[in-house]
Symmetry: C2
Subunit: 239 residues, 2 copies
Amino acid sequence: MQSEHSKVKALTFDVFGTVVDWYGSIVAEGEVFGNTHGIDIDWAQFALKWRSGYGPAMDRVRRGELPWQNIDALHRLILNSLLDEFEIVGLSETDKDHLNRVWHRLKPWPDAVSGLNRLRKQYIVATLSNGNVALLTNMAKFGGLPWDCILSAELTGHYKPDPEVYQTAASLLGLTPGEVMMVAAHPGDLRASQAVGFQTALVPRPLEYGPGGVQGVNAHPSDLVANDFNELADLLSVE
Amino acid sequence: MQSEHSKVKALTFDVFGTVVDWYGSIVAEGEVFGNTHGIDIDWAQFALKWRSGYGPAMDRVRRGELPWQNIDALHRLILNSLLDEFEIVGLSETDKDHLNRVWHRLKPWPDAVSGLNRLRKQYIVATLSNGNVALLTNMAKFGGLPWDCILSAELTGHYKPDPEVYQTAASLLGLTPGEVMMVAAHPGDLRASQAVGFQTALVPRPLEYGPGGVQGVNAHPSDLVANDFNELADLLSVE
C-alpha cells in the first residue's frame, strides 16, 4: 500500500462531515440556545435543513445569481430563511450572528485530532473546505485541530467540486496534484479531486446525518478506504 | 496596556527577520553545502546579497516588469545571478533547487516558538509574509512554529507593503483592521499596516543582518515595543 502512495506529500481534508460532526454539534448547541432563548423546535430538523440549504446556495453563486460570498454569508442567508420557517422571532442581531457562527464551533469526530496528529508527522495536513478561512481557523482553535495550513475555496473564488479549488490548493502547497491526497467522506469531492490528478482516500462517516441518516458509500477502485483517521494513518504506514 | 489593545483578536507576523533568522540559517547551511560541494565562498556575503536582491525583485513585479510570481521564483531568479557572481559552477538542477529552498528551512529566533505558544492561547496567530504559502508551511513544520493560519502576500497578488496585503488578511480572518495587530521587526511594514488601521507591535531583531549588521529602530508612538515574543506576551497580559 505504501509504495502506491509514496509520492504523496500532503493530505487535504474535506471538513464538514469528514473532520467535524456538524449534525451533532448543531443539535447540541441548538438545544442549549433554545433553552436559554425560549425556543422549542426540533433542532435535528433545523440542522438538517440548514445543511441541505448549503449546496443550493453555492449553486446560486456558481451560476452567478449571487455575487461571490463566503460560507459565513451563505450560512446566514439560509439561517434567515430558517428563522422564518421555524417561526423563531425576537432574536437580536448579536444572537443571530452567534447562532450563525455555530459552524465555527463544530466538534471533531472522536478520532480526528489523534489521527491528524499522527498523519502530520509524515505529511502536510491541510483543510480543503468550502468553509471560509476565518471559520476554519476558529474551528481549529475551538477543536484543537492541528492543521499545518488552512486552505479554503474562499482563496480560489470557486466552490468545490469546481476543479479550480483543487488545482489552486496543489499550487499553493507547491506540489503537483499527484503529490496531494484528498481525504473526504463524500465520493463526489473525491471524484472531482481525482479528475485533476489528486490521490484520494474515502473515510465514510455513517453518522454524518445523525443516527437515522443514510450515507451512500461509493469508493472508486483507486481510493484508499479507512474507517477513521487513525486507520488512514495505519494504511499510510505512519507510526 | 491591556485596555488599549483589548480589541485585538489576531496577531499577524512578518516572518523573514522577525520570526526566523534568515542570515544565521543561510550562513550555517551554506557552509555545510559549500563543504559537501567544494564551494569556498563567503557565505555571509552570499546571504546578505541574496536578501538584498529581494526588495528590488518584488519592485519589478510591482511595476509590472515581471509577471506575478511567488517568492520561491524570485529567490531563484536572484540565486541564478548570485551563482554567476560568486562563480559557482557545476551544480545540478536538484542542487540549485535544494539551495533555493533553504528559505523553507530558516530557524526561528530562540524566543519565537515559546512566545507564539503563549500568544496563541489568547489570540489567533498567523503569518503575514511575502513568503509563499508552501514556503511558510514547510518552514512552520521545520521549525515547529505553531501558526493557527498561514496568510501570505501570495493570496493577494500583491507584495507588502502594498495595502491590499493587510486588508485581505483582515478580511480572510473575518476581522476589522483594528482587531488585528501586525508584529514586525521592520518599521515600514508596521507603518503600512497602520495606514489601513492595524494595531502594531515592533519587535527589533538587532542580529537580523548578522553580528556586524545595523538595524535602525524607529517605533511610532502607537506601537507596542517588545524585545522578543515572550516580552510581547507579557505586554499583552498573556499568561
